[in-house]
Symmetry: C2
Subunit: 414 residues, 2 copies
């Protein structure tokens, strides 16, 4: 199968790539960015095929938005690669060197993970980001994109691989599985020894399938049923602005808010204006009984609404009795992505930060900031919503691991 | 099933334990250590049942050594708990707080993982170490020990849980599966949402079974096919001492050396004395053709000898043409645990450190130091031989994860 051959080439290349000079990697990334810009017409042409196929299959607008590439988005992919080139390379750094009583010097050296497999859906910009971050962090990459974006992905990956290999990156380091047969994925998930880590990016069905079937270690990413809790001491204007921003600025992404919880003492004051503004932005509000009693225009929320990542202009709203009810609701329904409290109360802010068990916990800010660029990583390979290895936006450092290096002078164990 | 009930109790307890005051955890650990000492006769009695059962089944001596508890080993378990009590608690620490251009303050807060599942074989001291490390790091624990040690494990876990709960640790935080039915493990490995991480400790069959069947994230531990490479510039006396120490000081453990590679330029000089000393310690040497030509007494090594973790007084020895052949041999046969180079050559030392892809890479020291206590962690939950989350000895910090905390003042995304 294609994936076995490519993974095995990737493993071979990774041994050279893992100790490759940083300057070669940086120059390659700049050349890859230039190559994207030089091939904009071809990439858009390939993308148009994908978009037209998607339209024929009546795929919803927010997904077509994810799929679509224009000049601006391709330039932004290239800018991402240049930013990655400028970031500090973590590979080879020594951390926490200590001296033991027997004279042994023990420290951690940052090293690449090896071969990273990425299984993802529509967004073709993932192709460029993933390749850039893997190469800079010294990892080979095996990409399996969605069939929706296959033409865009092949165009992007071949432009990037070509530029990378011409710049001294070992051949075989960059791989895209072109065969869209499902069986390729099934084999990919069992390639222990060839692939060191699989990162799925996409909807919950894709992610659950990978978790269930992969024997290669997996980092769960991206499903974001995100919450904002408006505490009774919240500033009304700021709370409204943050909710509107978190819902409407880009509703199709995982860090958009899906449920707003409102303290009952402030519900009457904030809800009429907030709901009116949301509706004016085209948001469908689904509220609890109390929300409906204050704003008769809203739909009544079903149990499923508390569980759903809408990825659309839909927002669930619930009035809660107190802080504890908000925490319990979040604990029950959150996918562990991003949650924010809007409050002026110091103790409630601290308690929210301590108690909420999500990758990103905010005070007085929009959940939309959970993003590699916004966190200063340049680009991200995904947003981890599990607890092992890395949590939240995963940048360069999260694509490395460490090994212990021990410098001795003849020590033996007594 | 027992494991489902216990995992669900563990999850409930973990929400309290995760934010529990450090002083309560520390006092509990001291009380747990005292309880072990106060119950030495009962624990030894339970252990004697296990040892006598093992002897009836003709289990090999090195495994009985792992299983056996005496007063000294129980005192050492208690000392381990006191050491853990004295270590700094990583939970709640804030790391790497940065200010973004928009004024957001973003940092990482260390938090417990949640519920840790441990699946392990003979050694009953794992029971105390695992409970101590999990409690101190704010994690609930679900232990599934081998049936060989079931009586010892029940005795130790019940003494510790009792002392812990009396000291303020939430009930349900410490769990040992008493039912030795295999089906309990099968269910345990699918308890996503209840158990956050499974750490298998034991032989390669056990570990491979967990990797293959667990949908809960797994950290591979412990299989150690460890190598020592004696470079041509090695000091002979020191090289011999290190090899003897790494092989005979405790042959039944994962950081003992299993294969020694010797540069051909030094083979004639070192081998006769080294092999004589090894044999005098009762070691069976299995050598390559060249080793045999220098030391006619050794057995000829088979291909399987390069692949085997003997866990016994057996050592494979190979003469290599050069540094590269040593690296290629290690890359092919190593399980990624611990490898050491004995050399006086600065560049070879640096190249070995950089190129060998194992959890612990040594210069001029015995591989036997790959151990939580020797690295200064107090005790270890296992030695990770995979690349995700943690590598090498896993202490307190490796049993935590982080979440991003973001302090805002009304920021929205443009």
């Amino acid at each position: 199968m294609e994936v076995e051959n490519k993974a095995s080439e990737a493993k071979r290349a990774s041994k050279i790539l893992s100790i490759l000079n940083e300057e070669i990697k940086n120059l390659a990334l700049v050349n890859m960015a230039d190559a994207l810009i030089n091939n904009i017409p071809d990439i858009i042409k390939a993308n148009e095929k994908d978009v037209s196929n998607a339209k024929k299959r009546n795929i919803k607008e927010s997904l077509i938005d994810r799929l679509k590439l224009d000049e601006k988005r391709i330039i932004s992919m290239a800018t991402g690669l240049r930013e990655i080139s400028a970031l500090q390379d973590p590979v080879g750094e020594l951390e926490g060197m200590i001296k033991r009583p027997n004279g042994l010097l023990i420290g951690k050296m940052r090293v690449p993970i090896g071969v990273i497999g990425i299984i993802y859906e529509s967004r073709p910009n993932v192709t460029a980001d993933a390749i850039g971050l893997c190469i800079k962090s010294g990892n080979s990459v095996v990409l399996r994109g969605g069939s929706d974006a296959i033409n865009s992905n092949i165009a992007i990956a071949s432009v990037l691989a070509d530029a990378a290999y011409k710049s001294g990156i070992p051949e075989g380091a960059i791989n895209l599985i072109e065969n869209t047969d499902r069986n390729e994925v099934n084999i990919m998930m069992k390639l222990n020894g060839q692939i060191d880590l699989i990162i799925p990016r996409g909807g919950s069905d894709l992610i659950n399938n990978v978790i269930k079937n992969s024997t290669v270690p997996v980092i769960e990413t991206g499903v974001g049923n995100c919450h904002i809790f408006i505490d009774k001491s919240a500033k009304l204007k700021s709370a409204t602005e943050i909710v509107i921003n978190a819902k409407v600025q880009r509703p199709g992404v995982c860090n958009a808010v899906e449920t707003v919880l409102i303290h009952k003492d402030i519900a009457n004051t904030i809800l009429p204006d907030l709901v009116e503004k949301l509706i004016s932005y085209g948001v469908e509000v689904r509220g609890c009984e109390k929300t409906k009693s204050i704003c008769p225009d809203v739909k009544i929320a079903q149990e499923s609404d508390w569980e759903t990542e809408f990825l659309d202009l839909i927002l669930a709203v619930k009035v809660v009795e107190n802080f504890d009810e908000a925490l319990i609701h979040i604990d029950k329904y959150s996918t562990g992505h991003s949650e924010s409290i809007i409050t002026e109360d110091y103790n409630n802010a601290l308690r929210f930060l301590k108690s909420v068990d999500s990758a990103a916990v905010y005070v007085n800010a929009s959940t939309r900031f959970t993003d590699g660029s916004e966190f200063g990583f340049g680009a991200e390979i995904g947003i981890s919503t599990q607890k092992i290895h890395a949590r939240g936006p995963m940048g360069l450092k999260e694509l490395t691991t460490y090994k212990y290096v021990i410098l001795g002078s003849g020590q033996i164990r007594k």
